[in-house]
Assembly symmetry: C2
Homo-oligomer: 758 residues x 2
């Protein structure tokens, strides 16, 4: 870990460095931007889920009041194609075929947003309507119409470890079941927005509420037909993303950029909530056929899962979601025989893509339901079953990877047992029933074998000792700026208030790939640490000249270079920095940080894939009103092995927030389709958890440091989604005595059980 | 030099990369900026050159229509102090004392610029007027009033080499004379302008027409009382600077920043021409008492110069100007005995500071007048005298520095002789007289021993093979963006149109100090080269894996990685870059480049000071109308040793532009004072050379490469000023038979000679 001395900033609770401007409204979001000559874009969308697009009549729209121009697919200078990875199957605007209701067919640009919107209503497409394919089963039928030329299977992957058939034969007990989850909307507070500003120097700046500015740059440049370095993407304050501001930001970035270059005016596209829900990606709906075998003593002998993911109209980030579902389906357990097959399927619905958890919540719900069903079958305590099979350092994961350290899973189970032991058992009565559910999970940290894991960061100290940090990974509300500031502060021995973490832009750091996979603290933090260490090296070299003593005797602490032997001997960092500048020691460094290499077989899905896993166990205790179906969460405990806590307030916030999304997935949220059209594209009809639903979460932080994260830290942004969702389902099953295998388990579902019994 | 193979881009004539947007008006300058909520600042200035400032009544101004706020010295949050180097003697706004007419006493902010200006007129200061000190002689009088507490001598330095007294004693011929030059105005097309924009994240961005963004950042942060990293300075397109946009940009940057933070609105300050002339620094006026001794054969035995520089009210960059005058006074000659003393003096006039040439034009005028006077005395050809004494590799300069290479002085003399040999001798007639003058010069490249010579640059290649270059030194019209693009293109083997050189900002590169001392191509170019070489290294490593052959067999050329043995075997750089990204070879590098160390004694001013000198010889052939005094330059030849030509068009442009400034200094320009107040603060009364004055310049480029510049290149931005001014004076002397020892030599001066004779 390289930390022989106690840490000064790491591990201390600190307020978010950008918290004040956010809560006071001082932070300006993309849609707040106003520039001279700025015009507004509004997308015309298809009203049908599946059709041949024969023609688009734009004349009425062009004549509409205040409309400046109308753009259709043929106006995109480049290939009119987006997509994170092959097969690059998604047009920016539909050209020949409509594949989901809500797909963009034209962009109307007006002097005001309202004028653009009115114009967009006057776009008249001519369709040859096709029968939409709306279910996985229909898509997989023999002779089904092909949604894309290559067929209706987006991706299919299989993980094989040991011999699952034999493992099931060796089992004393086998449980099996089919589990389903629904499409889920990201529901960030700030809908998608971009502002494209053309400059006199033939460059264009895209200000965007976005997650992965380098993705935007590449796609926008390609579709504008200009070199990537003519495009600068600046990540504006981003009011939540959760995976949802990759694809759509790219799409509207290209649209705004195309219009801005043609009109030579700044172009704003800022979505309304309905556009955000209809036009942006969602969490994959899943159907999981799961079978688990075990010995009488609870030892797992085999786990077999067949997973179907509904990917909607386009591939988007399905490759990663497919992969994550595959890797995580067997859970945080030692299982010698595993067989997982994940198939992602095209349907004529809103495309599914990245969403906090990335396939893990779906399979964890199935896996952890199975564990509880198995425990019941075996007459075992659910926590004991998890403890018996839980991964330890040196054990092999489902991909047969083992870790020497930072496998704190069993500690999370034991911590949750301690919580449960505190509880008094509530007695059911005529109206209310009570239950407790637990669920365990693991979630891989970093892109690992799924992609390149490179991050750039820069750290600059000014002569006055103040510090500027930049990183290619983004702040999305998760607190990365605060974590980066803490890391720089720790390494440079300066106070937090001397550190500024600036906005991300694509000009100033190395292409850092996407801000995903809970890798920001871990991989991004390592880059910041590396850059800061270079600057710290200069400061120590300078201080060594000033003190006339070897560097090893000097430490940087609380704004001073201090002599270890005599802490009264100290020089302010501002003086050291000024001297270093004039002496010629570099005070700025651009780090290029890379995750350790992986060794992975993409055919069998065996090998070393992630630099670490986050492990967790959740517990929920619920009270259910059998009259109304209302579920009251009396207690929620979430224990996670986070390697090292950087900011306890931040970690707690991440766990609370992710758990609430898991709770929404498990209990409230479902995108309702009728004939392929979303029926609840608003927050009145789509039930997203509100502040009133905030869970009474008790956060338990286990620190089992990883050598691959800064000071040992591992990410925690995504894992709690899976834990909370699965624990909720198990708690409801415990309370009601009924195993619900479809999420969400709504109040209606619950009351229907009791009505049946009544 | 590291260039075994022929160069592809370096040395080729290329159009300025930013030329098109500049000539089409697409480039947006600072004053073109318009932002929502933007307000305008206008400075109230003192109308007297010297006074105790008793009070400032701001009430009427505050009540003036559209005025939002008024700021005086006490409203500056920080120390209200600027200055490049100690003694830091200049307030941002005058507080207790007025030291020149035009000094800022208050800032008025209004909704419009006109309202702010009207408000500024209503600022009522109460003065106790003092008798201004307006000449160097008055300032140096015993018992003179002290303009600053430390006295009226800003700086005084003395260079001693050998024994000058003995040298003069040994001389067969001694010439002596006193030479004077005037204050000169920078007269850039775009007057000073800044726009301060406060952000929600507690940072402030200063967009500025400026020369040295890191200077701005430091001073602005200090005076705003915030850490430097909370200030981001972006250099906007800058319509000329020539040294003039350091101090004033700092001053108005602080003013705009102070107002922006208080009002939380963007604040624009954009000067009118009169403000620019009255309120910004000028070139030091000089009086130089010069004596030169020589043997009969022309061998110089001693040169003795006593230089007085009028520095005006504040020190500004006088330390550097003092130093440069000191080092360069002896000229590009081998002289064993040199004594130079330079004294810079405070007066109650506009402060003098940086101006293209930095003290060298003044002393070169004196030195080269002396050389001609000596030649006349000796009956020698002026070029022969210069050739006899000219520096060669291995010779000692005035500071006793010697260079192994890149001393191409004698080649410039010989080249000019060849030009002269072409001429037919014109015969004087009743009205017209003809003459030819030459002048030689040297000018140190880099800050050298005068300061820190550190530059940061970044080079980033995108996966599509396009390249983004950033550097901490600025484009001021001199063509640095083009030079940087050429260097990156050369190193990376890509075409120029794939390279973008972006705007400079203080966030994204290492503090690079000021853009001065003709060091941009040399020191800045080395930084760009270094950064590009790192990226090229990644590309070669990747190509080596792709070709399965050692790196040494691969070169990057014309957009491809090419096998040297078989140039048909090539891979597009875009493919190499994409593969490199995914394989984990860094495609971006932030270079920190430093000039070689110096070894200099600041007491005797002996030692190694600059990494190289530019050497030059100019020739002017003039026709003079004895009736009107009109001087027609029939021919101008400028031969310079530039080490290596990067862009012949750029070098030619630099030589033409700098020569024209020298011509203005020698013939047209003089700031006229009456009672300490500038009488000609406009382009009607102040005669700046116009396009009609463009010289018929023949540029001769000598290439004697320096190991300390990229591909051997040395800067050429400043040297021709001195050459053209001195050659003009010598040509006029030759034509008229009268030695004018004061610059400018105006038409009036010339006709007065002939009137006297008539």
């Amino acid at each position: 870990m390289g930390t022989q001395h106690p840490l000064n900033t790491i591990g201390k609770p600190v307020a978010k460095v950008d918290g004040r401007e956010l809560v006071t409204g001082k932070a300006r979001f993309t849609a707040d931007m106003k520039l001279p000559g700025m015009v507004y874009g509004y997308q015309a969308r298809s009203g049908v889920p599946s059709a041949k697009l024969l023609a688009i009549d734009t004349e009425k729209a062009r004549r509409s009041d205040g409309v400046l121009d109308v753009f259709t697919a043929e106006d995109i200078p480049g290939p009119n194609l987006i997509g994170i990875l092959p097969p690059f199957d998604q047009p920016v605007m539909a050209d020949k075929e409509i594949r989901y209701a809500g797909e963009t067919i034209a962009l109307v640009v007006g002097e005001t947003r309202e004028q653009a919107k009115q114009g967009a209503r006057k776009i008249s497409p001519s369709y040859q309507v096709l029968t939409p394919i709306l279910t996985v089963d229909d898509a997989l039928k023999e002779n089904a119409r092909k949604i894309h030329p290559q067929g209706n299977i987006t991706f299919s992957k299989e993980l094989i470890k040991g011999d699952a058939r034999k493992g099931l034969e060796d089992a004393d007990v086998v449980v099996t079941g089919t589990y389903e989850t629904s499409f889920q909307e990201h529901a960030y507070l700030e809908p998608e927005a971009v502002c494209a500003v053309p400059h006199g120097d033939n460059r264009i700046t895209i200000y965007a509420s976005c997650q992965s500015p380098f993705h935007l740059r590449g796609h926008i440049a390609n579709n504008l037909g200009v070199p990537a370095t003519r495009v600068k993407v600046v990540q504006a304050y981003t009011g939540g993303s959760f995976g949802g501001k990759d694809d759509v930001a790219v799409e509207i970035g290209i649209l705004a950029g195309t219009a801005a270059l043609k009109l030579n005016r700044p172009v704003m596209i800022s979505h309304e909530r309905e556009e955000s829900i209809k036009g942006s990606n969602v969490r994959h709906a899943a159907r999981i056929e799961y079978t688990t075998g075990a010995k009488k003593d609870g030892t797992l002998t085999a786990r077999v899962a067949k997973v179907y993911l509904d990917g909607g109209a386009y591939a988007s980030e399905s490759p990663f979601v497919t992969m994550k579902a595959l890797i995580h389906a067997a859970g945080p357990y030692v299982v010698d025989n595993v067989s997982v097959e994940v198939t992602t399927v095209y349907t004529n619905k809103t495309y599914a893509g990245a969403f906090r958890g990335f396939g893990v919540p779906q399979v964890t719900f199935a896996s952890e339901s199975q564990m509880d069903e198995l425990a019941k079958e075996l007459g075992m305590d659910p926590l004991a079953l998890r403890e018996k099979n839980g991964l330890k350092a040196g054990d092999l994961t489902a991909t047969s990877q083992s870790y020497d350290s930072s496998v704190g899973f069993l500690e999370t189970v034991r911590a949750i047992r301690t919580v449960r032991d505190r509880f008094t058992v509530e007695k059911n009565d005529d109206r209310y029933v009570y239950g407790t559910g637990v669920a365990s999970l693991l979630q891989g940290i970093s892109n690992g074998a799924e992609g390149v894991d490179v991050v750039g960061a820069s750290v600059q100290m000014s002569q006055d000792g103040s510090v500027l940090v930049g990183c290619g990974l983004t702040e999305l509300g998760q607190g990365s700026r605060t974590v980066f500031a803490q890391i720089a502060s720790e390494v440079l021995g300066c106070n937090m208030d001397r550190v500024v973490v600036r906005q991300v832009d694509t000009d100033s750091v190395h292409d850092s790939g996407p801000t995903v996979a809970s890798r920001t603290t871990t991989v991004g933090g390592m880059a910041v640490k590396k850059a800061a260490e270079q600057v710290a090296g200069s400061l120590k070299k300078m201080a060594s000249l000033m003190f006339k003593i070897d560097e090893e005797h000097i430490e940087l602490k609380e704004g001073f270079a201090v002599l270890k032997q005599d802490t009264n001997a100290s020089i302010p960092l501002s003086e050291v920095a000024t001297a270093a500048y004039w002496t010629g020691f570099p005070l700025m460094n651009l780090a290029f940080s890379q995750a350790p290499p992986v060794d992975y077989d993409h055919d069998t899905h065996q090998g070393d894939i992630y630099l670490a896993y986050n492990f967790g166990t959740h517990l929920m205790k619920v009270q259910i009103d059998t009259y109304t179906g209302e579920v009251r969460v009396l207690h929620h405990a979430a224990a996670h092995d986070v390697g090292r806590v950087v900011n306890p307030l931040g970690v707690t916030g991440q766990i609370e927030g992710a758990s609430l999304i898991g709770y929404g997935l498990a209990h409230l949220e479902r995108i309702e389709y009728a004939d392929g059209i979303i029926r609840n594209p608003n927050f009145a009809d789509y039930a997203v958890p509100s502040i009133k639903d905030r869970l009474p979460t008790e956060t338990i932080l286990i620190e089992d440091p990883t050598p691959n994260g800064p000071f040992g830290a591992k990410g925690v942004g995504e894992p709690p989604v899976a834990g909370a969702a699965a624990a909720f389902a198990n708690a409801v099953a415990d309370a009601t005595g009924h195993r619900f295998r479809n999420l969400p388990v709504t109040r209606e579902d619950i009351t229907s059980v009791f009505r049946k019994e009544a």
